[in-house]
């Protein structure tokens, strides 16, 4: 269950262009969060909280890792914080990835840009269950690449850049063939990427994590909706998601 918590910033480092990795400490969230859930972070001087995915958890140390890209005023403000300061967050929010407990299955993780972080905690959790992991990580250019080594430790890993400045050239969908056989996939990234993936992998079981501008972040304001395929209704990304079955929503 989500709570309003203070988290203490333990460490802060830039890991790629405009991309910050922050490790924060909080017992409640670290013990209860599941892969795919997010923190709704209050930023000084801003009306609305910012949703940021949980990228990793260390239960022994009570820490949560988040990664964010500086894209606007809120994330720029977050990038001025230093270890020892604290953040006011709601968390853990939303419903994460449903984890397939089938032994011996092979799972493909497909991440694009700042959609890569939640897949790391997911991949780590799956790898602990002896599930085989293959990952494809897409970035704009070499300067934005992060966590390649961490994903390589989980299994076979492909990096793709739009301009070919690192790894394969092209989009993540161009590499899916190279990845070989898999049973199901999990993906998070920009909407055009998710559209391309779900179209290409139609028929394969998959789960995708979505983004939308949020008001409350707790399911009360109806800001963050996505149309569902059946019945013409809407689901709330903040509380029904952010993770959905690929077949469930209309992108």
């Amino acid at each position: 269950m989500m709570k309003k918590e203070k988290v203490l910033i333990n460490s802060f480092r830039q890991i790629a262009l405009d991309t910050i990795e922050m490790v924060v400490e909080n017992a409640y969230i670290s013990q209860t969060a599941k892969p795919g859930q997010f923190l709704h972070v209050s930023v000084e001087g801003h009306m609305l909280r910012r949703p940021i995915s949980i990228a990793d958890i260390n239960k022994e140390k009570n820490t949560i890792t988040i990664l964010f890209k500086v894209v606007g005023s809120g994330t720029a403000k977050l990038a001025t914080l230093t270890p020892g300061m604290s953040l006011d967050v709601l968390g853990p929010n939303g419903n994460g990835f449903q984890i397939d407990d089938q032994q011996k299955s092979t799972i493909l993780l497909i991440g694009g840009g700042i959609g890569v972080p939640p897949l790391y905690y997911l991949g780590k959790t799956l790898a602990e269950k002896n599930i085989e992991i293959i990952s494809i990580l897409g970035f704009q250019t070499k300067d934005y690449v992060f966590y390649e080594e961490k994903f390589s430790n989980l299994g076979r890993n492909y990096v793709v850049t739009d301009d070919g400045s690192y790894g394969e050239k092209g989009f993540v969908t161009d590499v899916v063939k190279m990845a070989g056989d898999f049973d199901s996939y999990y993906s998070c990234g920009p909407l055009p990427m998710l559209k391309a993936i779900t179209t290409k992998l139609k028929g394969k079981p998959g789960m995708i994590s979505l983004e939308e501008r949020m008001g409350c972040g707790v399911g009360a304001c109806m800001a963050c909706v996505i149309p569902t395929k059946k019945s013409g209704g809407y689901k709330k990304i903040c509380s029904d998601g952010p993770v959905f079955h690929a077949e469930e929503v209309s992108l």
């Binding site: 909280r49 707790v218 009360a220 304001c221």
Partner: protein, 305 residues
């Protein structure tokens, strides 16, 4: 004696604080944070005659000291609200105010009438001021003749006290207030959001899919205070004030301007505990400025001409 208590038509409020319509859904989400019995009342999300899916996304944008929203009255429809949502809220010791909306006079009547089925709703908030739907809503809220007509129709259709929610998107709010008072309104609720727009630089297009949205939050508080101050001097029905409230000091300012109770909207998004925190801080704030009770402060900021 409870110095926070206020009695209004249909509403015996143990304190004057309630979440504003559309910012609290039907209470379930915030009930996970605190006991809703702490609240003076709850203003439910707008109910329409049948289910509405609302507008495409993006539906919200952040602004300096506020936000824009164009949700478009997404709600499951009045029957489902009565069946599934009202009984949940009725578990709490708080008053329930149903916000009603429609595209036509007939839809307003239908929704108002439907709430006669339940004993758990204590008052209606007649939303004639939603800027975010294509038909209905706003035209009822900007034309005094139309506003009076819908107020009269709803009064006739319902056995509950009716608080008419006024739009700030008018040149003469006093005229609107007088028109609905004459048409039988039991109270007023003000203000709804101010129509605004944000242009997204990367796409060079309006950010909100509906193009325009309603501005809420601290940015609109001075507008709300001014409008309540003006209206209070021309009507004798009570006013529930709202617009940018996030502290007990803000609440006192609304009381001084002439509000008898105060709703909190956008502030819930940043701080889910904002309502109980305000309720807790209110006695001390009243005392600090020399008031014995909420009742004592109402309208005391008005300078007699």
């Amino acid at each position: 004696m409870n110095n926070l208590a206020v009695n209004l038509p249909g509403l015996e409020l143990k304190n004057p604080i309630m979440p504003a319509s559309g910012c609290f859904a039907f209470g379930r989400e915030y009930s996970k944070f605190y006991d809703l019995s702490k609240l003076g009342a709850v203003m439910m999300k707008a109910a329409t005659g049948t289910e509405r899916f609302g507008n495409p996304t993006p539906r919200v944008a952040e602004t300096a000291s506020g936000m824009l929203n164009a949700i478009g009255l997404q709600n499951p429809g009045v029957e489902k609200i009565i069946e599934n949502e009202v009984p949940f809220l009725a578990n709490y010791d708080t008053s329930i105010i149903a916000n009603i909306a429609g595209s036509t006079l007939e839809e307003y009547e239908k929704v108002a009438n439907a709430f006669n089925q339940t004993d758990d709703v204590h008052a209606l908030e007649l939303n004639i001021s939603c800027p975010n739907v294509k038909e209905g809503g706003i035209q009822f809220g900007t034309d005094p003749g139309m506003a009076a007509k819908v107020t009269e129709a709803v009064k006739k259709a319902s056995r509950l006290p009716v608080y008419v929610k006024l739009s700030p998107n008018v040149t003469n709010v006093v005229e609107m207030a007088k028109a609905v008072e004459a048409a039988g309104a039991d109270g007023l609720s003000m203000i709804n959001t101010l129509t605004g727009m944000q242009i997204h630089l990367p796409s060079k297009k309006p950010l909100i899919a509906n193009q325009t949205g309603g501005l809420s939050g601290p940015a609109i508080k001075p507008v709300a205070i001014r409008m309540i101050y003006e209206v209070k001097q021309h009507v004798s029905i009570p006013i529930i004030g709202m617009g940018g409230v996030s502290t007990a000091e803000d609440v006192l300012e609304f009381l001084l301007a002439g509000a008898s109770a105060v709703a909190v909207g956008t502030a819930n998004f940043n701080n889910p505990y904002v309502c109980p925190e305000i309720i807790e801080a209110l006695p001390e704030t009243l005392q600090k400025y020399g008031f014995d009770s909420v009742q004592d402060a109402i309208g005391k900021g008005i300078v007699q001409a």
